[in-house]
Amino acid sequence: MDTLLPQQFTQLSLHSLARTQHQFIQLNQQVFQQMGSEEPLQTLKIKLEPILLKPKHRESIVAAVDTSTMKIAETSTGIVIAVRGANVWKQNENYRYTRLGPFIFHITEENRKDVFNTLERAYFTSALNKNHQSAPTLPQMPTRIASLLERWLQAMLTKTITNGLILFDGSLTSGTFDTPIHRMKEILDNGRNRGSIVLAFSKMTNLRVNGCLITDFALDHRPPYLLETVGLRLKPPMVPLGEVYVAKLSKGSCAFRLDIDRQVSPDLRIEAVERLLGNDLISQSYPETLRLAHILCTFTANEVLAMQHFITRKCGLQMINRPDMHKLLFGPFGKGESYS
């Protein structure tokens, strides 16, 4: 796996944009940021005896990864998407970050396979050979490319940080198109080999116990605490690579699904959360490092304008604003696609 700057991302980005020269583009009417994870149906139990936590202040690096993607325009042959990722780490009381991107791709039916496979080959050679997947469809491409970047960033952190706490956005469920099992295992192994522990926070979950979301099992107990789950089974080929907890790390109404590398012993898993409490700011049960990673990679409206400006200037694209059919047909009753 290449640990250098993702040159291939840049080259592919420029190459794909070169093919858009002098086309008309339709401004985007549909925005999606931050990929949601697909979760299969399962059966699950939750232990209502809380695992009480005490912050451990032994100094540990806390690092987090997040990526974001966005469709910024449509062309007559495809879509123009932007992808960006951020690594944030806290060391010596200071937060620092590395932000990669935005990378802009023009994805068409013609080039989608090439783009995806080239990126796969460039960064996850072993994966492509062992577990070849068909290239995603055009609408799936933004999230799939962002996933590639996210896995690469995760891999970078697990390969470079020693004895740290590495925070992922989402779950440690693997076996989906985005998260091949061996790739996630490799990432977790890398971290473990360097003494680091991976903790994955899901902002949304659909894991339920007796019909209730696991994050709704609020106890009259003073945070911070964890609730342990048992018996998680997923439909093949999905495999949970983490033990699933409900984490309520601070006061407030929020609780999150927390997956911790299941190859780590239970004691070390609990200790990892306690070290997180002692080394990072926790607000609404969510670690600040991960929050920053999310904030830094998210595209603002200003950046979308700037990227549209970039593609019109660099590629000579002409923007057109096709009328919103909802508004056209339904007038004031048409709320636009974003509301539909």
Binding site: L14, G101, F103, I295, M307
Partner: protein
């Protein structure tokens, strides 16, 4: 630049960072298809409301207010485009005129195309050419923002009421000196009420040598080289002094009239005889006391003399100024309030007399901080009656509220220097020849020695100019304690 919106006579224009536009600049919004163009002036520059800017700023300050340190790997170099967007500005512009077939009209009733209009900076020389400000008697005030010369025509000051105002040390006196010297060079008669002795060295260069105006600058210092004899003075002028400067009551004024008549008939109009006559005049004791106290005030001023030879300088100066142009500087420094009022009453009376008798064609009067010596009724007099006699006044003040509102309303030209005080800006914005937004917005940001010229001199196109330097000896500087 792109036309964004128009509301009333305000146009909003979106400007990008590579287009350097500042407050006071003129823009031409040209609609090729219409064959017309709007001339607009930038009166404010704001940040454009770009969506997402707040998020952009907030995310750079997550850690207790300190900037988060990090590295951005931006291979496509999108960041410059982001800052390009973030730094876009919104120009708030006032419509000044419409250009059609090279002629100007004040209309703003049409709407140029938002998509097709082109917007470019309008150089000041082009604007002035369109506005036809050029004339036979050019006065270069200085340089406009685009470094071109701002030249007005002296005739636009002729017969006009002007105001030079701004806060202290912004360059008001400098501009008034420039106008004075320029008018004198065109053989005009200029009279200056010099409160702080700032204009005494107009005839000297900064290194103390005589300049071309030396022979045309006549400095008159009351009770020193400037005195008057009772025989020269008309009764109505002296009554003006007694009533307005020395507040002589009506009954006493009537007695004085009789005394004056008797002395004139006897040809004994001297200070000594006047005193003796009052002493022996058969009248009410209080009236005599009132007359005596005024008599002593006149004597103590040192401004009056019985020696005719001592009292010819004003007449001579006016005569010289009439023939070859000149500035008569009335040095009011070190003069008490009462004496100052006596002198001003005399000068104004004498000017009206000279103009009435056509001894003078017209005179440009420069009055600094006029509220310190001008009586209440003179304000209206100056802008109405005296104007018809040929006295064209320029008021210079750093306290704009000391000039009455009706003066602002009738002012033909205003030279506005920096003001930061809202109240001061409010007062000036009452002028009829300018809109309040322009005054408030531009004047507040004027740097020292920069002036916003408003009114006829610029054909109602407000123009900011840096006033040019003048090679005259500086006088009237503030005396300081902490100086070497």
């Amino acid at each position: 630049m792109k036309l964004y919106r128009k509301e009333g006579n305000i146009v909003q224009i979106l400007s990008f960072p590579n287009e350097t536009v500042e407050k006071g600049d003129y823009l031409l919004v040209e609609d090729g298809e219409e064959g017309r163009a709007l001339i607009v002036q930038v009166i404010d520059v704001q940040f454009a409301t770009i969506p997402g800017v707040l998020e952009e700023l907030l995310r750079s300050l997550p850690d207790g207010g300190e900037l988060i340190q990090g590295e951005d790997i931006d291979p496509l170099e999108i960041a410059p485009h982001i800052t390009y967007m973030q730094d876009a500005s919104l120009l708030i512009c006032k419509i000044r005129a419409t250009v059609e077939n090279d002629s100007l009209s004040p209309s703003s009733s049409w709407l140029p195309s938002r998509s097709q209009s082109t917007i470019k900076k309008l150089p000041i020389p082009t604007l002035l050419k369109l506005a036809k400000t050029n004339g036979q008697l050019p006065i270069t005030l200085g340089t406009a923002k685009d470094s071109s010369l701002l030249t007005i025509d002296a005739s636009s000051l002729d017969g006009r009421l002007n105001i030079i105002t701004g806060k202290k040390e912004t360059g008001k006196s400098h501009l008034s000196k420039l106008l004075m010297v320029s008018l004198v060079q065109y053989k005009a008669t200029v009279v200056v009420f010099d409160l702080n002795g700032e204009y005494l060295s107009l005839g000297m260069t900064s290194d103390g040598k005589r300049n071309v105006n030396y022979d045309k600058i006549h400095v008159l210092t009351p009770s020193q080289n400037f005195k008057v004899a009772l025989k020269q003075i008309g009764l109505h002028i002296l009554l003006g002094i007694l009533v307005h400067a020395l507040h002589l009551p009506g009954t006493s004024t009537r007695e004085f009239r009789r005394i004056w008549k008797e002395l004139r008939e006897k040809d004994e109009l001297t200070l000594h005889e006047l005193g003796e006559t009052i002493r022996n005049w058969n009248c009410n004791l209080h009236v005599r006391d009132a007359l005596f106290s005024r008599y002593h005030a006149l004597v103590n001023s040192g401004f009056f003399t019985d020696n005719i030879a001592e009292a010819m300088l004003l007449e001579e100066s006016l005569l010289k100024a009439k023939e070859e142009g000149g500035a008569i500087i009335i040095n009011l420094r070190n003069t008490s309030t009462i004496d100052r009022q006596i002198v001003v009453e005399y000068i104004l009376g004498k000017l009206v007399e000279s103009l009435t008798n056509w001894k003078l064609k017209a005179a440009f009067l420069f009055a600094e901080e006029a509220h310190l010596y001008l009586r209440e009724t003179y304000w209206d007099d100056i802008v109405t009656r005296m104007r018809h006699f040929g006295i064209f006044t320029t008021f210079i003040t750093n306290q704009p509220d000391t000039i009455r509102e009706n003066i602002y309303r009738q002012a033909d030209n205003i030279f506005l220097f920096n003001f930061t005080n809202e109240h001061d800006l409010d007062v000036v914005s009452r002028a009829a020849r300018v809109d309040a937004e322009t005054v408030r917005s531009i004047a507040r940001d004027l740097p020292p020695h920069h002036c916003l010229a408003l009114g006829r001199v610029v054909r109602d196109f407000p123009i900011v100019a840096r006033i040019k330097a003048l090679d005259v000896k500086t006088m009237g500087e503030t005396r300081l304690f902490f100086t070497a």
